[in-house]
């Protein structure tokens, strides 16, 4: 019954798209900048191909690995950007402002405005999924008690062993301050003070002799699998992929740091109409849910979260989704506006500390 309902809604939400597409017999292809790898394979399967089938518009992809360089020369029609980058590009006038009035309602009838998570709508970008930076541990490493809170990352007494942390301030500084019981809402105001940063480095100092620093997203998984470290920070999608193929890794969801992945259209894009059409298509309840079920990221719509059930391989996907209510209770939303402004200062400070000078 539920399946039939879903199908019906599917058809009805696709109809306007079909109607809009019909007067265009020879549409220009849509050029989408995408991140490649397994993630892009999923988008091909559940977004690009169905979009072409529904509208007749071909989707061509160009590789993208973050940053704003892609906006120079001949930019694509649509970019799958982090919100952080989209905000910076928007401020420089390199993205077109978006209107969100024509987004379809949620599958459960919730108006789009309320169906999307908070702050999904920014001036030039629409959030479609959330990914998380999390702490994970090697399930073979601990007997009895297992780590469950962000505090345990810094608790060498109960959970001894090496840690792998990303070689940037991001996430490390939030977690260090959270371990002092600072509530999520106060993190960034406190991180803005010298006193807050002093506390952060006090925590990191204690951890330093036990820390390996990683750069590529694949490293923390490898370090955990090889047993070189007992705890590591990393992207939830990477850990999920490892867990799905049987690695002895468990994610600590406490204080996961969520970031938005958005769709944005460059100002000089040539096929803006198709790009907007694609955004409407790709952010419907069913499409968002289909993407999330395959790569364990959080869909940007509440109604899509409600539909999540099984990975195509048959196991329950819900415990792996960062925005699942059970995982989401203590999530930190990364303040990308703050990072955009203090990045240089922060990195300099962090590198100084890494070079040996404590706080």
């Amino acid at each position: 019954m539920r399946l039939i309902n879903t199908l019906l809604v599917c058809v009805s939400t696709s109809l306007p798209v079909l109607a809009a597409a019909s007067p265009q017999p020879q549409p220009t292809p849509l050029v989408v900048a995408s991140w490649g790898g397994a993630y892009q394979a999923v988008l091909e399967e559940v977004l690009f191909e169905p979009f072409t089938a529904a509208t007749g518009i071909q989707v061509e992809t160009v590789p993208y690995s973050g940053g704003l360089e892609i906006l120079e020369a001949t930019p694509p029609d649509l970019i799958d950007m982090t919100k952080n980058a989209a905000m910076a590009a928007c401020e420089q006038g390199q993205l077109i402002p978006l209107t969100f009035d024509d987004l379809p309602d949620g599958a459960d009838g919730t108006p789009a405005r309320r169906d999307f998570i908070d702050s999904a709508f920014s001036e030039c970008a629409l959030t479609h999924l959330l990914y998380a930076t999390v702490i994970a541990y090697d399930t073979r490493a601990f007997k009895g008690f297992i780590p469950s809170r962000v505090h345990d990352l810094f608790n060498l007494q109960d959970f001894p062993g090496k840690r792998a942390l990303q070689d940037i301030p991001d996430a490390n500084i939030e977690w260090a301050l959270r371990s002092f019981d600072v509530p999520r809402e106060s993190l960034y105001p406190l991180l803005s003070t010298p006193r807050g940063m002093a506390l952060v480095f006090e925590r990191l100092d204690a951890l330093r002799p036990h820390t390996l620093w990683w750069q590529a997203g694949s490293e923390p998984v490898e370090l955990l699998e090889s047993g070189e470290v007992v705890m590591a920070s990393g992207y939830n999608g990477r850990f999920f992929a490892a867990i799905a193929k049987g690695s002895p890794i468990q994610i600590i969801w406490d204080s996961q740091i969520q970031e938005h992945q958005t769709w944005a259209i460059p100002t000089s894009a040539t096929n803006q109409v198709a790009a907007q059409q694609f955004i409407r298509f790709a952010t419907s309840t069913q499409r968002l849910a289909a993407v999330a079920e395959r790569i364990a990221y959080g869909p940007a719509r509440h109604s899509a979260s409600a539909l999540l059930h099984k990975h195509p391989d048959g196991f329950d996907i819900r415990p792996h989704i960062p925005t699942h209510p059970y995982n989401n209770r203590t999530a930190i939303t990364k303040d990308v506006g703050w990072y955009a402004r203090v990045r240089d200062h922060l990195h300099k400070r962090f590198e100084q500390w890494q070079a040996g000078g404590s706080s």
Partner: protein, 572 residues
């Protein structure tokens, strides 16, 4: 049937009143706080904006110039306020307690704007006083629009105040308590319903319209030993001394400021510039200091010396800003001062006892409420605020222990609160309770009967008796050509006297007379020993204005008490 319908209508009216005032006060409160946050971010006052600042020089200039220019604007606004002083919670309390007049609108609104500018430009003042005042003013404006009587007007004011507190602290029960504990100063069933509705609406609105994060969140605060409750009591007593020092500094700087050779209009600008210069080394003293309040709850955030220095600097900075003419409250600085002191106390306890005592957060929270409660005169409210904000029961009991002795100690050393002290300086004494305050607020003026028998001081006994019998009175007042009162002659004293004698000889030397501005309360005291019909009333130039009949004074007294009782006990 009709009676039931009437009751329902009346109840809906009361609920509607609560909703209306609660909603508007909540919106104003949230706008006010959002305005402060926005100004702090734009003017490089908030740590967040300071960290984002593009250059060091810009930051240095802003640190000194923003409070100075803010002070200049505040000084100019003050110049245009009737009475040249900012209004605040004491004005609301005075209106309600004396049942006279309404909170002044023009000074009220201008004070609100001045507070916003003070807080926005980083002055070390509180935001909750202005919000309480604005909430009360708003309630009063609504009551005037609906032409309510004084009692309902007072309840409307209390509704506005309750909604403001409830909105800001996300603490509806504390809002109700504050309105009853500080503003109305009695607990009545009649007032409870609309105040509770307003408070709840404030709470709902706080989470839906322009929501602001709550002041303080505490995730864990475990009390390890029961004997520590003894320390919390001790902390309460010690905090009382801090509270008294804080309040005395505010009053003292206020007194000194008027003696300074700086024109009143530029005084806040000067104060702001000086504050900014100190803030170059201690940026913690700028603004309400929410971040430092949070840090004070963390064990390792401050060294003991830093706690002590910051504690003293914050007391001085707040006294300096308020005394020199910035507009704002005393509540949020008190929270910070108290938590710094509590943290200092907690860390000393840990060192001296050598035992593993509870985390510093517990002591910081106890110190926070123990300093704040006596300053605003609201012990129960502050304890309930802790409970509603943290949902932590043992912590609330710890806070209660500290507040209990803090309030008692402070009331002995200083008085019920800074508000009451400020009102006392304006001649309104609330220390004797509500009835005394009311009776003190009303004077004899309205009771004076100008028709009384006046005689020349040279009138003979015969003339005097004749005049009295014609006027059918038993007393006459001797008045000279300039109208000055010289004495009273009583008919019974003249009977049997030689007719040609001057009547003046028979006037008793120590007869009672009252000034026309004598409060009812003192008149009643004076009349205790009085035997007679009427008491002569004079002005401050000793000219006779008329006389009051003793029974009129008693009637006025009873009427006032009856009004008060009606406000407290009458059904709606």
């Amino acid at each position: 049937m009709k009676a039931t319908l009437n009751t329902l209508l009346r109840t809906s009216y009361v609920a509607g009143l609560g909703i209306l005032i609660g909603l508007s006060a909540a919106v104003i409160a949230n706008l006010f706080v959002a305005g402060i946050v926005w100004m702090n971010d734009s003017l490089l006052i908030s740590p967040r904006s300071r960290m984002m600042a593009s250059s060091e020089w810009l930051l240095l200039i802003a640190t000194v110039m923003v409070p100075a220019l803010g002070g200049l604007a505040v000084g100019i606004i003050r110049h245009f306020i009737d009475g040249k002083r900012f209004h605040g919670p004491p004005d609301i309390i005075a209106t309600v307690q004396t049942r006279q007049g309404v909170p002044a609108t023009q000074p009220g609104l201008l004070s609100g704007i001045a507070s916003l500018l003070s807080l926005g430009s980083g002055a070390s003042v509180g935001q909750y006083g202005p919000l309480v005042h604005l909430g009360g003013l708003l309630g009063s404006l609504w009551s005037r629009l609906f032409r309510m009587d004084i009692s309902m007007g007072n309840i409307a004011i209390a509704c506005g105040v309750a909604a403001a507190i409830s909105t800001i602290f996300h603490a509806p029960i504390a809002g109700i308590l504050f309105a009853q504990e500080v503003i109305l100063r009695h607990f009545s069933l009649r007032a409870l319903a609309p105040i509770a509705v307003a408070s709840i609406v404030g709470y709902v609105a706080a989470n839906t319209i322009l929501p602001q994060p709550p002041l303080l969140q505490i995730e864990s605060a475990e009390i390890l030993h029961f004997w520590e409750f003894g320390l919390f009591l001790l902390l309460g007593m010690a905090s009382a001394l801090v509270a008294v020092a804080y309040m005395q500094s505010i009053l003292w700087v206020g007194r000194c400021a008027s003696a300074m050779p700086i024109p009143a209009i530029t005084r806040p600008a000067f104060a702001g510039a000086a504050l900014g210069v100190v803030a170059l080394w201690f940026p913690e003293i700028l603004g309400a200091g929410g971040e430092n309040l949070r840090f004070a709850l963390i064990d390792e955030a401050f060294s003991r010396w830093e706690l002590a220095i910051l504690l003293i600097l914050k007391i001085l900075a707040t006294a300096w800003c308020l005394g020199m003419g910035f507009a704002g409250g005393v509540f949020s600085p008190a929270l910070l001062i108290g938590s710094l002191f509590g943290a200092l106390f907690g860390s000393l306890v840990a060192t001296l006892s050598g035992v593993n005592s509870s985390a510093v957060v517990v002591y910081a929270v106890c110190g926070m409420v123990a300093v704040t409660a006596p300053v605003i005169g609201a012990p129960m409210t502050t304890v309930v605020i802790v409970f509603e904000m943290t949902g932590h029961y043992p912590l609330t009991i710890a806070a209660l222990s500290s507040v209990a002795l803090a309030s008692l100690t402070t009331s002995r050393l200083f008085g019920r609160s800074l508000f009451d002290r400020q009102l006392h300086q304006r001649g309104i004494d609330l220390s004797g309770g509500r009835s005394k305050a009311l009776l003190t607020a009303h004077t004899l003026q309205a009771l004076i009967n100008p028709n009384c028998l006046q005689l020349s001081p040279r009138a003979s006994v015969k003339d005097a008796m004749l005049a009295m019998s014609q006027a059918q009175v038993a007393e006459a007042y001797l008045v000279d050509a300039a109208g000055h009162y010289l004495g009273t002659v009583h008919l019974h004293a003249l009977i049997g006297a030689a007719p040609q004698d001057e009547a003046r000889q028979y006037a008793p030397p120590d007869d009672l007379c009252l000034y026309s501005d004598t409060p009812l309360w003192e008149s009643m005291q004076a009349l205790r020993e009085f035997v007679g019909e009427r008491v002569p009333v004079i002005d401050r130039q000793y000219r006779l204005i008329g006389a009051v009949v003793e029974s009129d004074v008693i009637r006025a007294y009873l009427d006032i008490l009856a009004d008060m009782r009606r406000e407290e006990y009458a059904p709606n």
